[in-house]
């Protein structure tokens, strides 16, 4: 089943066309990585998918439930109440974590399940502790975000997103704000999620990581999907733009 489907997505900012007719779909259990140079529209695409940005044109649906459809070449979104229901289907991990600094680690993770999803406290706390253990942060539940390293913060952010049991989990350059050492610990966690077959869409600049864990890779360039396929197909492609892009990484 298609967990995420986006068709003919277009988005401009002040006349600058950032997304030029992009279509993509993600199957349940699939891990899709989106790579490409800065300014190619990766983050904008992710923000459109997570309803943080409204598309100019394009349709968007999760598990067959439509959030926006194309009417006369424009996107028409569903009513706020319906969008709120669709928002429950996905989670997002931000580049800059965006943890709530005045909440403890535990409260960051449990507050939304308790007060938004109205789930029983005991159950939520139990799950949160399991999640924290999985993230290697079992001893940090009382800590505040300012007491944690960037890598730890990002793992809390991942736990916070997972606590709402999303069907699709998005990552927006989850390691770009971290040094190489901390990057490793976050990537390890994401890798473990891939092994659990959690459906993920990851915007990343970590090429080796994308090649490793993705079922499919999408290479964006200049607001279009320049290339997509299995990691082998994309990273082994003869596409000149792709080669140029990878070459720059190889030289680093």
């Amino acid at each position: 089943m298609k967990y995420l489907e986006m068709d003919h997505v277009k988005k401009s900012f002040d006349g600058l066309e950032v997304l030029k007719d992009i279509s993509l779909s993600v199957e349940g259990g699939e891990v899709l990585s989106i790579i490409g140079p800065s300014g190619s529209g990766k983050t904008t695409l992710l923000r459109c998918a997570t309803l943080l940005e409204t598309m100019d044109c394009g349709s968007l649906s999760y598990l067959g439930e439509s959030a926006a459809e194309i009417v006369d070449g424009r996107s028409v979104y569903k009513k706020p109440a319906e969008l709120a229901k669709i928002r429950e289907k996905f989670g997002l991990v931000f580049q800059s974590f965006n943890l709530f600094p005045h909440f403890s680690v535990m409260k960051n993770i449990t507050d939304a399940p308790i007060h938004v999803q109205k789930r029983p406290k005991d159950e939520v706390y139990k799950e949160a502790r399991e999640l924290l253990d999985k993230m290697g942060l079992g001893d940090k539940e009382r800590a505040y975000p300012c007491q944690l390293s960037g890598g730890q913060c990002q793992r809390v952010a991942i736990a916070r997103a997972l606590a709402l049991n999303p069907k699709v989990l998005f990552f927006d350059e989850p390691t770009s704000a971290l040094d190489p050492e901390l990057t490793g610990e976050v990537l390890k966690v994401i890798r473990s999620l891939a092994q659990m077959h959690i459906t993920m869409v990851i915007v990343t600049h970590e090429m080796a990581f994308a090649r490793d864990i993705s079922d499919r890779v999408l290479f964006m360039d200049g607001g279009v999907v320049a290339l997509q396929g299995t990691p082998q197909e994309v990273f082994g492609s003869d596409n000149p733009r792709m080669k140029e892009f990878l070459g720059r990484y190889a030289r680093l």
Partner: protein
């Protein structure tokens, strides 16, 4: 006049000064939020109009003397509606005048705090499904309070000293009484007592606010 009699008379005024202070805070702190939201309204034609109106309100409140505003509130009803004004109206007029004025200043302090919040906090809250009300009260407001506390302290300290402006309406708060005694007895002591009183009052305010700031220092 003996020192103790003087002190007893001034103490009466002190109670009234403290009364103006607390009642003004009680009304102006929440009213400031209303003004702040009005000032930040910009959705649609109505929002635009509301925004302009509250902008004008703040502009007038900050741009004219508080003493003049107190006079307008006190004498206004008589000149506008022929309402008889007397002793009963004096105190309410002072509280209304102070509250309206301070609400404008607090509104701008709140706005600075709200607008300094990173957009990521709103986006994270949205992604987690928080409603707009939940987002404001659970996520944004607690952080805003921490950010604006030093600016609010400034304003509150100013208010302690501004209470003496009630003198303009011949309300018998501390400064009014002090001035009366000085004039009638040709004795300078009441001014010194007044100075010490205001200073200690503000010291308490500053220490209390610092205590709250420390309480909120568990995160940054």
């Amino acid at each position: 006049m003996s020192f103790s009699v003087m002190l007893a008379q001034l103490a009466d005024g002190m109670v009234r000064t403290v009364g103006i202070f607390f009642l003004t805070l009680l009304f102006s702190l929440p009213l400031g939020f209303l003004v702040c939201f009005g000032r930040m309204a910009k959705k649609g034609a109505v929002g635009n109009l509301v925004g302009i109106l509250f902008r004008a309100y703040i502009s007038v409140m900050r741009g004219t003397p508080l003493m003049l505003q107190l006079m307008v509130v006190y004498f206004g009803p008589y000149f506008l509606f022929g309402m008889s004004i007397g002793n009963k109206w004096r105190f309410p007029a002072i509280i209304i005048g102070f509250s309206l004025n301070y609400a404008a200043y607090f509104a701008e302090i709140y706005r600075s705090g709200i607008e300094s919040m990173p957009i990521g906090q709103y986006e994270a809250a949205k992604l987690l499904g928080y409603s707009r009300t939940q987002t404001f009260f659970k996520i944004i407001l607690p952080q805003v309070i921490k950010r604006i506390l030093p600016a609010v302290t400034n304003e509150v300290i100013t208010l302690v000293k501004d209470t003496s402006l009630a003198y303009a309406l011949a309300y018998a708060e501390m400064f009014t009484i002090a001035k009366q005694i000085v004039a009638s007895k040709s004795d300078f002591t009441p001014f010194i007592i007044a100075a010490v009183f205001y200073y200690i009052f503000n010291l308490i305010v500053a220490v209390a606010m610092e205590f709250i700031e420390k309480k909120l220092n568990y995160y940054h």
